[in-house]
C-alpha cells in the first residue's frame, strides 16, 4: 500500500464547528471517524482529500441509548463493537448485533463506526440491511439545519448517498420494534475478498396474537447497486399465517427482487437461502417474545 499524501487536519469540538469547516473548505474534504474505510481508500489512491476533519473530539457523539418509548439512538461515533456487546441491542435488536458481527475482525470493529459504514455506502455494507429492516431514520445536520432521512432512502448508487457536501450524519434513530416482533440478520461472506459480504438478508417480522404476520420488513445487501428493501417479498408475508410455504415463497420473491452485478445466479440462489434462514430465526424469536 502506498503512503498517505499530505493533508490539513482539524479536530473540531462541536458539530456546528465541523459543519462550518465542511462549508468553508474549497478543496476535497473528508470526515474521519473510525478511519477503517477512509484510510484504506486514501492508501489506494482512490481518495486524496486536502482536508481531513476528525470528529472524535466532539463530545457526546459516542452515545448509545435505549428506552422502550424512544427506541435506540446510535451516535455517529458508536463503534461496531459497541453494538455487539450492548445488552439492550442484543436483547431488543439482535439483527443489529448480528450486522455488526458480520465485520469479523475485532480490531476493525473496535474502531469502525456504524455511521461510517452507512456513509461509506458500499453496496455490501453490513449495517444497512438490518437498519432498513428495523425502519431506522438518519438525522443529517448541515448549514441549513437538520433533516431526517429513512435509511432505505439514504443510498443513491454504489458508494454514494444523499449527504450534501456540508452535511454530517449526526444520529441513527431506530424505533422500538412492535410487540410480537423478532429479528435476524443472516449473511454469507465472500471467500475471495477479505471479509466482504456476498449476500446479506435482514428480517424484522411482527406476529399478532394468532401467530399471523402483522408486518414484515426485509433488507438485502450486496445484491444490488445499493442496499435494498424487498417490498414484494414482504407482501407475501403480510396478513398471512407464517407457514413453510409462505416463508419459501417470500424467499423466492426476494431473490427475484435482487439485481446482483456479479456471480448473479449464485447470489440470487443465496438470497433465497439467507432470507429463509433469517425469516425462520426471526419468527422463532417473535414467538419467544
Amino acid at each position: 500500500m502506498r503512503k498517505l499524501r499530505k493533508f490539513e487536519y482539524a479536530a473540531p469540538r462541536s458539530l456546528a464547528e465541523a459543519v462550518a469547516l465542511l462549508r468553508e473548505q474549497t478543496g476535497e474534504t473528508s470526515l474521519l471517524a473510525g478511519g477503517t474505510d477512509l484510510l484504506v481508500t486514501m492508501k489506494q489512491g482512490k481518495l486524496t482529500p486536502q482536508y481531513v476533519i476528525d470528529i472524535k473530539d466532539i463530545p457526546g457523539l459516542d452515545s448509545l441509548t435505549y428506552d422502550p418509548q424512544g427506541g435506540l439512538r446510535i451516535g455517529p461515533l458508536v463503534t461496531m463493537q459497541q453494538l455487539v456487546t450492548c445488552l439492550s441491542v442484543q436483547q431488543h435488536f439482535p439483527l443489529l448485533s448480528e450486522g455488526a458481527l458480520a465485520t469479523a475482525v475485532p480490531q476493525i470493529r473496535n474502531r469502525a463506526t456504524v455511521a461510517g459504514n452507512l456513509c461509506n455506502a458500499s453496496p455490501a455494507a453490513d449495517m444497512a440491511p438490518p437498519l432498513i429492516a428495523a425502519g431506522a431514520s438518519l438525522k443529517l445536520i448541515g448549514p441549513q439545519g437538520e433533516r431526517m432521512v429513512p435509511v432505505e432512502g439514504f443510498f443513491t448508487a454504489p458508494f454514494a448517498t444523499v449527504l450534501e457536501e456540508d452535511e454530517i450524519l449526526a444520529e441513527i434513530a431506530v424505533p422500538s420494534l412492535p410487540r410480537g416482533s423478532g429479528s435476524c440478520y443472516q449473511w454469507l461472506p465472500k471467500t475471495t475478498v477479505v471479509d466482504e459480504t456476498l449476500v446479506g438478508a435482514a428480517v424484522v417480522i411482527t406476529l399478532d396474537r394468532d401467530g399471523a404476520c402483522q408486518d414484515a420488513r426485509i433488507g438485502l445487501g450486496s445484491v444490488a447497486p445499493t442496499p435494498l428493501r424487498a417490498r414484494q417479498a414482504e407482501e407475501v408475508l403480510r396478513g398471512h399465517r407464517v407457514v413453510n410455504g409462505t416463508v419459501e415463497e417470500a424467499a423466492r420473491v426476494a431473490a427475484g427482487e435482487s439485481v446482483p452485478r456479479s456471480r448473479a445466479e449464485y447470489r440470487r440462489e443465496m438470497v433465497q437461502v439467507m432470507v429463509e434462514e433469517a425469516l425462520r430465526r426471526a419468527v422463532e424469536r417473535a414467538q419467544q417474545a
Binding site: 493533508f7 472524535k56 475482525v105 475485532p106 480490531q107 474502531r111 477479505v194
Partner: protein, 157 residues
C-alpha cells in the same frame, strides 16, 4: 502539516511532533523504534500490526499518529518485565505457537486484550477473537492452545 502530540506507550509518556498524514504504525516503528508491530497488508486485514490502544486491540496502520494523542498504547515490547516473559509469551513458546514469529506480536497482543475482557474463553471464542490475525506458518491450532493455556495464569493476576 505537523502537530505536537503526547501519548503513553508501555507506561512511558512520549511527546513528539508528527506529520498529520503519518500513520500510528509508522510513528511507532520509525520515531519510537518499536519495531515489534509489523507492516503486512497495511490495510487492516492481516493483523500483524496489532497493538492495544486504551485497552482494545486495533490496527495502527489505519490510525493516524495524531489520533493517538492522549491515548495509552501497549506494544509487544511492553509485555516482558526485563528477562521475565509474560505468561502469553511463555505459553506461545511452550505450545510451539511461534515459527517465523512475524505474526506473533500481533497475535499475543490480541490475545492479551481478549483475556482482559474474557478471562475464561472457549476455544470458539478464542478463534473468533483472533479472526483478525493471520498466520502462514502454524495452522493456528498451537496458537489457540497457547492462549487457552495462558488464560488460567492470567486470570489470577
Amino acid at each position: 502539516m505537523k502537530q505536537p502530540i503526547t501519548f503513553t506507550v508501555n507506561g512511558e509518556v512520549h511527546q513528539l511532533e508528527v506529520e498529520t498524514h503519518k500513520t500510528l504504525l509508522d510513528t511507532l516503528r520509525e520515531d519510537l523504534c518499536l519495531t515489534g508491530a509489523k507492516e503486512g497488508c497495511d490495510a487492516g486485514d492481516c493483523g500483524v500490526c496489532t497493538i492495544i490502544l486504551d485497552g482494545r486491540a486495533v490496527n495502527p496502520c489505519l490510525i493516524l499518529a495524531v489520533e493517538a494523542r492522549g491515548k495509552e498504547i501497549t506494544t509487544i515490547e511492553g509485555l516482558a518485565q526485563g528477562e521475565q516473559l509474560h505468561p502469553l509469551q511463555e505459553a506461545f513458546i511452550q505450545h510451539g505457537a511461534v515459527q517465523c514469529g512475524f505474526c506473533s506480536p500481533g497475535m499475543i497482543l490480541t490475545a492479551k486484550a481478549l483475556l482482559a475482557d474474557n478471562p475464561q474463553p472457549t476455544a470458539q471464542e478464542v478463534k473468533q477473537a483472533m479472526a483478525g490475525n493471520l498466520c502462514r506458518c502454524t495452522g493456528y491450532e498451537s496458537i489457540v492452545q497457547a492462549i487457552l493455556g495462558a488464560a488460567p495464569q492470567l486470570a489470577g493476576r
